[in-house]
Amino acid sequence: MSPVVRRKGERFTLPSKYLLFILTCVCVVLMIVSLGTDLFNKPLNATVSYVVVPFQQGISKAGTWLANRSEELVQIRELLQENEALKEQIAELTVENTQLLQEKTELNRYRELYKLDMQYDSYTKVGAKIISRDAGNWYSTFIIDKGTDDGLLLDMNVIAGGGLVGRITSIGPNWAKVTSIIDDNSNVSAKTLATSDLMIVSGDLASMSEGVIRFSQLIDSQDAVAEADKVVTSHISDKYLPDILIGYIYSVEKDSNNLTKSGYLVPAVDFEHLEDVLVILERKETT
């Protein structure tokens, strides 16, 4: 007799091992399909943007408000002390400032002379708030509160505090998933600003807790790359815009093949306390 039994007057029931088998097949098919195409992304992303994202926005707003209030209470005393110190500093700084202003006008003149085009400032950017983070502990992705409705698109670069945060890897009408450069899956093509030596910066869960990220495949035959050198995104990256600051070199060592070097760099962004980010409304493909 077949195990799928149907007695009179009883509801049709499927033994759970068959149910498990069927749903496993469904999962495998889903995985295969979503690996190759993004067939499900649109409907699923749109659904969650109505069911989940508005609440995440609400909770995170309330959470930030509460955190700010409690912090305020703690900080009042500190602030009073700081205020004194700051007043002294203001006096010093005004003197310094006048000097710097003079130097700035000089600099501007030189810039015009050399026609230095600061590309970094010319990107149009839009601010966004982080409303939730990865559900597990394995990856460093987060959700921001803007999506296609605000003109964002897939693969747009995300920066904060002058440094690269990551890029948008999934998007819905009012939310977007940002995969950060410290994510274990992420690889960014980068170069040193001073010597233009190319390297690969890859996020690493193991070194994340120490506040550094790995880089590898640095070809530096002249031994010109040193600690504290600036590392920016390279011009050959196909997802990241060129010349965005990633971080500073922390340590360099020669690989066992004696050709390339690898090591660690300190990211320019404080990923632990990230709250607001800027999304650059320009993609590498279109430029």
Binding site: Q56, G63, A67, A135, W138, A206
Partner: protein, 175 residues
């Protein structure tokens, strides 16, 4: 119908908590896995089928937001729900030891599976590091939260069961 609605609400609520509130309350960046608590509890409280469905849908929710492919977490959570359902026969609501043990094992095996499939296969062999820094802390935190969260789930389930018994008596159906 009401059961389905309430369970769906519970999954939704746990997911929201896990991604927002507990990210703020995290110790050393580690977040407890509330979804595992829900899936495992309904597995051993209601049987294999409930475990499978709840695991499947909560996994799908994770996939849409944070998965690389859709269906990966759904599959893992579903299997965890199914295995927990196997323990339905020796589950008594008064007993707290079995739920704690099952949730611990579920979360540990979830961590292991994630490590093996997502990290080991990409050549990251430093198992001890990942165990010490991710899997074990997550399990400990999850157990702590279980002590608060599990009684709530148990209470909801008992209320639902009482309700269902009443209505099935009314219609003369004895299951």
């Amino acid at each position: 119908m009401i059961r389905k609605l309430i369970v769906a609400l519970l999954i939704w609520f746990s997911f929201l908590l896990q991604t927002t509130v507990f990210k703020g309350l995290s110790f050393a960046g580690i977040v407890p896995n509330l979804l595992i608590i829900v899936i495992a509890s309904f597995g051993f409280m209601r049987g294999e089928e409930a475990g499978i469905w709840i695991g499947f849908f909560s996994g799908l929710l994770c996939d849409v937001f944070f998965g690389e492919v859709i269906g990966f977490y759904a599959l893992i959570y579903m299997c965890i729900g199914f295995v927990n359902g196997k323990f339905n026969r020796i589950f008594y609501p008064e007993d707290i030891k079995l739920p704690i043990a099952l949730i611990t094992i579920s979360d540990l095996s979830y961590g292991m599976i994630c490590y093996i499939l997502l990290f080991l296969l990409r050549g990251k062999f430093d198992f001890l590091f990942y165990f010490k820094n991710i899997i074990f802390p997550e399990t400990v935190y999850t157990i702590l939260i279980t002590c608060l969260y599990y009684p709530m789930i148990l209470f909801i389930n008992e209320r639902l069961e009482k309700r269902e018994k009443r209505s099935s008596k009314k219609f003369g159906l004895v299951r």
